[in-house]
Structures are given as structure tokens and as C-alpha cells.
């Protein structure tokens, strides 16, 4: 029986090697930050594109309801 109780515990969870994560982390991190900037801040505190507040107006309600400072 002791043999069985050694064999049954949780299988060791698979660790994804850090070396494999790193490039994807940079890629996803940069893209996500760009998207988050446009959802949260573009044409609010900072305006990168000169759209005269269009981005701000378009995502206006989402920005308020996601708790970002809007205007």
C-alpha cells in the first residue's frame, strides 16, 4: 500500500523554462502596454496621435468604467 501512496500524489507540474518565456514576455509585454496606453490614456493626459481627442471619445465609457482617470 505504501507503494501506491507514493505513486498517487500530484504529478509534478510542468515548469515552462524561463529561457522560453523571456522572448514571449517581451513581445506580449510591449504589445499589451501599447494597447493599454490607447485604451487608458491616449488623448487624455497625453496625446500621441493628433486625432483631436477621437480615441478618447471613442473608448470614453470603457475608460471610465475600467477606473482609469479619463478627463
Amino acid at each position: 500500500m505504501s507503494q501506491a501512496s507514493i505513486a498517487t500524489p500530484h504529478p509534478v507540474p510542468l515548469r515552462i523554462p524561463l529561457r522560453e518565456i523571456a522572448p514571449w514576455a517581451v513581445f506580449a509585454g510591449v504589445l499589451a502596454l501599447v494597447v493599454l496606453f490607447f485604451v487608458s490614456t491616449e488623448a487624455g493626459a497625453v496625446e500621441l496621435l493628433s486625432t483631436n481627442g477621437l480615441v478618447h471619445e471613442f473608448v470614453h465609457d470603457g475608460r471610465h468604467l475600467l477606473a482609469f482617470p479619463c478627463h
Binding site: A45, V59, D61, H64, L65, L66, F68, P69
Partner: protein, 252 residues
């Protein structure tokens, strides 16, 4: 493997964003509409950029497609970051199943990234907040989010080390307590933002803030549970060949 995890994170984020949009539309939009009505009726209507002559985007678009775009993109971006965080954490904080890791990570991230910053700098409806201070308020908000996130990561790493000596319960408790104390001290030291006009109805403010927090809760809960289910399949499938002894795979 990492590519699969990331794609599933984006997908879970997209679905979570769609669910949060529906919630925000039903529960949040009424108080946004009331607040905009007050804003346009108020004395400062022309300064706020919602005056009739400046309506670049109509309310009909803002409250439907605009809301979906904003919350949906937020969901996808957060889903991607969540997948990366999950990849770092899974199997390193403890021998937990993928769906449990995902659920704990989502709960922790919601507290650190949304709830704690919200308690210090809560969401504001239209008509609340002076346009002139948007730069300061944005810096303070994101600064506090970044600080809270940094404290959360330090707490997680410290908790992992403490758990080896004191056990998971005490290690986790000390780490969580340390985070709460540090975040509370930081919140007490940071400047206060109080720009609610005296005439703004308290009940509308409460409804809006509750809806805002609940929208985020819907998003993070769906993200954690959906991603957990997706990751469970991806990692279990990857598990079977190299690590799991024969006969164990696929039993749970």
C-alpha cells in the same frame, strides 16, 4: 508551449472582455448616462469636452461599440500579460494544478492591480474631476498601480521563500500581511485626490463606482477561470509524455 499559453491567454482575455462589456453595459451605463446628463446641465459644460458642439463620437457609439472596443482590448491585453505571469508562476510557487494557479493568480492580480489602487484613487464618472488636473491624476493612478504591483511581486517572492521555512500557511500569511501594510503606508503618504463637485449626487457616485469595480471583478474572475480551464488542457497534454508516470495522465 509558451506560444500556446499566450494564445490561450489572449483568447481567455477576449471572452472575459466581452463578458465584462455586457456587464458594464447593463449595470454601468445607466449611471454614466446620468452623470453625463448632469455634466451637460452643469455650469462647466463647455470645459469638459462633452458639450454638444464637440461631440465627435455620439453617445450611441460610445455606450456600445466604443465600450466593447475599450473593454475588449483591455481584456485581450490583460489576458496576454496574465498568460506571461502564469508561465512565470506555474510550478514555481508550489505544486498546484494549472487551474488553481490561474485562479490564485487572477485573485491576487485583481487585488494588486485593481482593488488596492481603486481604494486610494477610485473610478470617477463623467462630471467628476477637474480637466486641469488630468495629468497629475493619471500619474498618481499609474504610479500607485506600478507601486502596488511591485510590492505584490516582492510579497510573492518573499512568501515563497518564507513558505520553505515556516510552511505555506505562515509564509503566505506573512507575505499577504506585509503587502497590505506596505500598500496602506504608501496610500497614506500619497496625495489625496478629491474633486467630486459638492452638488454631484452621492447615490450616482456610489452606483458608478460599484459598477466600475464589479466590471473589473467580472473581467478578472472570467479571465482566471477560463484561462485556468484552457491552461489545464495545454499543460496536461504537454505533461503526459515526459513527466507523468504512465497510468496517471488523464485520470483527473
Amino acid at each position: 508551449m509558451m506560444r500556446t499559453v499566450l494564445v490561450r491567454g489572449l483568447l481567455a482575455g477576449l471572452i472575459a472582455g466581452a463578458l465584462a462589456t455586457v456587464f458594464a453595459y447593463v449595470v454601468g451605463e445607466p449611471s454614466v448616462d446620468v452623470a453625463i446628463g448632469l455634466e451637460e446641465a452643469g455650469p462647466g459644460a463647455h470645459e469638459h469636452g462633452h458639450g454638444a458642439e464637440e461631440a465627435v463620437v455620439s453617445r450611441g457609439v460610445q455606450r456600445t461599440v466604443g465600450l466593447l472596443t475599450g473593454v475588449g482590448l483591455y481584456g485581450v491585453a490583460v489576458g496576454g500579460l496574465f498568460a506571461v505571469a502564469f508561465a512565470f508562476v506555474h510550478g514555481r510557487l508550489g505544486a498546484l494544478r494549472p487551474r488553481l494557479t490561474a485562479a490564485l493568480l487572477a485573485a491576487g492580480a485583481f487585488v494588486v492591480v485593481v482593488l488596492v489602487p481603486f481604494l486610494k484613487y477610485p473610478a470617477n464618472p463623467p462630471a467628476v474631476g477637474q480637466p486641469g488636473t488630468i495629468g497629475d491624476r493619471t500619474s498618481l493612478y499609474f504610479g500607485f498601480v506600478a507601486l502596488s504591483l511591485a510590492l505584490g511581486i516582492v510579497a510573492a517572492v518573499a512568501g515563497r521563500a518564507l513558505a520553505d521555512r515556516l510552511g505555506a500557511w505562515w509564509g503566505g500569511l506573512l507575505a499577504a500581511g506585509g503587502y497590505v501594510v506596505a500598500a496602506a503606508v504608501a496610500a497614506a503618504l500619497l496625495p489625496v485626490v478629491d474633486e467630486v463637485p459638492p452638488e454631484f449626487p452621492g447615490s450616482v457616485l456610489w452606483d458608478f463606482r460599484l459598477a466600475s469595480l464589479a466590471t473589473q471583478l467580472v473581467l478578472w474572475t472570467s479571465l482566471g477561470l477560463l484561462f485556468g480551464a484552457f491552461a489545464e488542457r495545454a499543460l496536461r497534454a504537454g505533461d503526459t509524455a515526459p513527466t507523468a508516470p504512465a497510468g496517471l495522465a488523464g485520470q483527473r
